[in-house]
């Protein structure tokens, strides 16, 4: 199998690759959004704690 035929997906390239693309976008979003939000929240809480100590 050539690389070209792999990407062509027997003429169904649009349907197959759009499906995989959307899937990975959704899964990555659901994985990384809480990580980013947690880091932001921890930073805010740390700032608050510093202010409280003074």
């Amino acid at each position: 199998m050539t690389l070209e035929s792999f990407f062509a997906m027997g003429g169904y390239a649009f349907y197959v690759w759009t499906s995989y693309g959307i899937t990975f976008a959704v899964l990555l979003w659901n994985l990384f959004a809480p990580i980013v939000l947690r880091k932001q929240l921890l930073r805010q809480l740390a700032l608050k704690q510093k202010r409280g100590q003074r």
């Binding site: 997906m9 169904y12 499906s19 995989y20 899964l27 809480p34 947690r38 929240l41 809480l45 740390a46």
Partner: protein, 253 residues
Amino acid sequence: MSFIPAPLSRFFHRTASPPHFYALADKLVPWLTVLFLLLLIPGLYGGLVAAPADYQQGDSYRIIYIHVPAAWMSLFIYVLMAVMGGIALVWRMKLAEVMLISSAPIGAGFTFVALVTGSLWGKPMWGTWWVWDARLTSELILLFLYLGVTSLYGAIEDKRSAARAVSILALVGVVNIPIIHYSVEWWNTLHQGPTVSKMDKPSIHISMLIPLLLMAGAFKLYYAIAVLQSAKLELIKREPSAQWVKSLLENKA
């Protein structure tokens, strides 16, 4: 928990306490990630490269390797949420509430993926993006249930009462799960019948079945990783001024 032996009950309470659970999640995630990749990479290779094209559907059938595992996850996560809801209602266990609410966006994601990839598969095979048949409609209702859980939880200010409300919603909505599962048998639909769960003689070739099972395993592990990340955030959100969060901040600084 009177019918559970005391040492076991103690074990549950300790593991379920936020600081223990937070630390446990941190320990588990690297291992889960390795396992996830060990299933995902051969699963994708098997599905997209190694497995032969379908004799009827050509290469379009390769959408099955995400569509079916995503649809399975959409049902699996909802059942888990209903179980968590039951535990939260009966024992008022905080961790069950946190796991329930943390699961909802991930379940919604999988449901969305199942619907969209199904649509992208349906267009070339059935000639239509969407039909209002039993399988598709009940899966769409599942998406609304997931979104309903998240928005109901967000709408109620007091998080303990919010958790009670979503627990009840999760339990009531579980009636939709068997409807989705059996819809292709109970009603005449455009959606094809089960190919894998006919255990005696699955109507799918082994070279196509193995990548499908690998992808299903990979999606399960993805859920475990993602729900732990989401639960860690929710635990801090719930009690931002708790002692364990303070010591967490001191360790980071």
